[in-house]
Amino acid sequence: MSDIATTSGGAAPSAAPSAARSGPAPRHRLWRLTQGAGLILGLYVLLYALYAYQQPRALDAYAIAALMNNTAPLALAAAGQTLVVLSRGFDLSIAGVISLCNVVLAVYPLEGPGGALLSMLLCLAIGGAVGAVNGWLVAYLRLQSIAATLATMIICQGIALVILNAPGGYVSEWIADELTGRLWGAVPVSGLAVAAVVGLWLLVRRTDYGVALYAIGADEPAAALSGVNVRRTRFITFVGAGMLYGLAGLMLSAQTATGNPNSGTPLLLLSFAAVALGGTSLSGGRGGLFASVVGAATLTLLQKVLFSSGVSSFYTGLFQGVVLIVAVVFSGLLTRIGERK
């Protein structure tokens, strides 16, 4: 054999062409930054510092909990959306599932901690069932994900209107109080819920399913030829995403304490914004759930900062859009600088 053993290709100087070609080009540190949640986390911290500067009470436990409560529904929705986007798909049913869970909780309130647990299971079941339908349509019947989930979204919203045709109803007190409260006066429950999801994701990422998810997002035929069960992976993804939307519906209901058949609609596009802001590639296979959660938190915090700066709420969308463009351009720029090494 004529192989020249070099330590690992990257470090080899270009002196010997046959050795230098083996390793990948060395990555710049900037490039690594764009891979994780580092960039968006930095943006969030910066924004929070601005917020704290404007509102000295922003660091109070109460203010943090309030912010978390506002953040949780979008963060969970974005988390679910991330799963589908990673598998190279789009999930529009997010709006339908959240609305449906919300009206169910508002029309059939179940009191007490036991009732809350049942409500949560109910939300998970609704989300999981809609996700299963999506997964079946996309993975097994090979419908395009936008078309399939658009249909399920419309169906869910229709059902939501049947259950509750106008804003009203009330969510059980236990859910509205406890899920928006603080444990030991300090730790916001909504924050814990999001943290639990992120923690679960960090584990899932290290399973065979997690690797398969990234594989089918990047190159489905290659993944299939490598032995990955593409259909099952895609199906599980939609079910998991649906359950996360169910959780988002629960947290939204806890926050608003009332029902609205259209409550999920604003979260639809914002969930994509959060995913993109977190640096997850909309063409699949690259990104992560935690970054999307931070992206969602950033969008929510931006609203607060604008509000406390006295900017009219009509401008919120405008600023969110600009931040999104700037963040995506900036991350693309860093990636390009990094890849040039």
Partner: protein, 536 residues
């Protein structure tokens, strides 16, 4: 066929059953018959070649063996038992694995992760240990003589040749009984490593199916060959008894005349159509050359010597960090392929990777061909149903692409026809300079002849061609002049009768009149041997 000695003793299996046998296998997609009737028997410890033109049904047969496609009819036996895999995993469980021509590696995963797909976690453990995955990946790389590759490297960051080696190593790793290698040398400049791995697998008693268009290679490693033509297996021959002519005849159905490169002196009187001076960057370290009117200039090099960078820079895909490109005598600096096409008499580029850089898989072959001049196709900006096919017809005829394929989605055509369509597109741009990067990579003899004819006709008409080929006989046949790249520099330049394989090989590995700047010691005996072999 007496080479099965030294295989480990596996007592319980009868030697006569140690084979994979397929009989009467067929598969059609709707009205299209991909495979009509194939019979083949692969014996343990034997390397068996599968030959045939593109579209003859080789890929379908491979997919059937692998479990990716389920045949309509026919039976298969593996070691005496019925073999009917319904998935790739099932085939893998029966120890049948394939190194695919189009490479089945997932680009965003690491080398080690790709090796272990789809089960990275240890049995019974839900979580994957990243360290263990790397360690197991390193172990596999080590076993296949690829220690220089970092198991933690993302596959997408590796050069094509290394990806191909990884694909092969993965298949060997999973192939306990049958190993299928589909065009394993498409991106490899030397066969040394591959043949060593094949030798090891053969010694273990693995039956190997070897698919390649390079007959020299097939003769070197295989003992028998089965020829497929139009979806039928024509017959199996011992390679010792059959001449190249016999095999070509079986493949094509008629004798192939061996065309020789006409001794033609290019008209260098006028200003060169394309000239580069001291190009640097993207693997180039000061490359200068001139390409005249009506000239076919070949580029020969081992893999990774800067040829890719050269073509991409000239095509406008990359911006050089130094040097000047002159088109028709005028210094230019174009930065996109579109600008290159409009620069002077025009430069058109045929890219290396057909699947990702060339075809638009969902569109028809005709659309793919007429893309560069689409605005001229329609009437008043609207394109009628048949307009594209009509407009593509002359270009298709140039490369002998059958008009009946023009209406098909190009992704459904065989690799050879896709390549013909791309060649037709490159010609149809009207550019007077063509940059062809490995224009016959992975295509059959018939397609090759058509592409050669198209290139020659283009040069006869005063066009200029710069082409790189990983196959030396191609350069010998086609080129009027040949540049040899080594370490990002032009190491040698051969002309006319001097373009012979031995001389090319010597220059390609850095031996010759001009010493390369400082790294002559890199080459070892290995590549010399390898290139000499593959050049035969």
């Amino acid at each position: 066929m007496t080479d099965a000695t030294g295989r480990p003793d596996t007592g319980e299996r009868q030697p006569s059953f140690r084979e994979m046998r397929a009989s009467g296998v067929s598969k059609s997609y709707g009205a299209t018959v991909a495979l009509e009737h194939a019979d083949i028997a692969l014996r343990a410890g034997e390397v068996h070649a599968l030959l045939g033109e593109n579209g003859a049904g080789k890929s379908t047969l491979v997919r059937i063996f692998t479990g990716a496609v389920i045949p309509d009819r026919g039976a298969m036996q593996l070691h005496g038992e019925t073999y009917a895999p319904r998935s790739i995993l099932e085939a893998r469980q029966r120890e049948v694995a394939t190194a695919f021509q189009e490479l089945s590696l997932v680009p965003n995963l690491t080398v080690a992760q790709n090796f272990l797909l789809p089960s990275l976690a240890r049995p019974g453990r839900p979580l994957i240990s990243a360290r263990q995955v790397i360690a197991r990946g390193a172990e596999i790389l080590e076993r296949h003589g690829l220690r220089r590759i970092d198991p933690a490297a993302r596959v997408g960051d590796l050069p094509l040749a290394e990806r191909q080696r990884i694909e092969i190593a993965r298949a060997i790793e999973n192939a306990g009984r049958v190993l299928i290698l589909d065009e394993p040398t498409a991106s490899l400049a030397e066969t040394d490593w591959l043949f060593e791995q094949i030798g090891k697998a053969r010694a273990r008693g693995v039956a190997i199916l070897y698919i390649s268009h390079r007959l020299a290679e097939v003769r070197e490693i295989c003992t028998a060959a089965t020829v497929l033509r139009n979806g039928r297996s024509i017959g199996t021959v011992g390679l010792g008894d059959a001449s190249d002519g016999d095999i070509f005849e079986m493949m094509v159905g008629h004798r192939v005349e061996h065309t020789r490169r006409p001794a033609r002196v290019a008209g260098m009187a006028s200003a060169p159509r394309l000239a580069a001076a001291d190009l640097a960057g993207h693997g180039l370290r000061g490359v200068s050359f001139q390409l005249g009117e009506g000239e076919i200039l070949g580029v020969a090099a081992l893999e990774g010597q800067g040829q890719r960078g050269l073509f991409r820079v000239l095509a406008g895909l990359e911006t050089p960090t130094g040097g000047v490109i002159r088109v028709d005598g005028k210094a230019t600096a174009y930065r996109t392929p579109r600008a290159a096409l409009r620069c002077g008499s025009g430069i058109s580029y045929l890219p290396e990777e057909r699947k990702t850089e060339g075809i638009l898989a969902g569109l028809s072959a005709a659309t793919n061909v007429v893309l560069p001049f689409l605005p001229r196709v329609g009437r008043a900006g609207l394109i009628g149903r048949r307009d594209e096919e009509k407009a593509a017809l002359p270009a298709a005829q140039n490369v002998a692409l059958s008009p009946r394929y023009l209406g098909f989605a190009i992704g459904d055509l065989s690799g050879g026809n896709q390549q013909k369509a791309l060649m037709a597109r490159t010609l149809a741009t009207g550019a007077r300079t063509l940059l062809l990067f490995d224009p016959t990579r992975g295509v059959d003899v018939g397609t090759k002849e058509s592409i050669y004819a198209a290139i020659r006709a283009f040069a006869e008409g005063g066009g200029s061609v710069l082409f790189y080929s990983s196959e030396l006989p191609e350069i010998v046949q086609l080129a009027d002049r040949c540049l040899v790249l080594y370490g990002g520099q032009v190491f040698g330049e051969l002309e006319g009768a001097d373009i012979a394989e031995q001389k090319l090989v010597a220059a390609m590995i850095g031996h010759g009149t001009r010493p390369p700047a400082g790294h002559a010691s890199v080459s070892s005996a290995g590549p010399v041997h390898a290139v000499a072999e593959s050049a035969r």
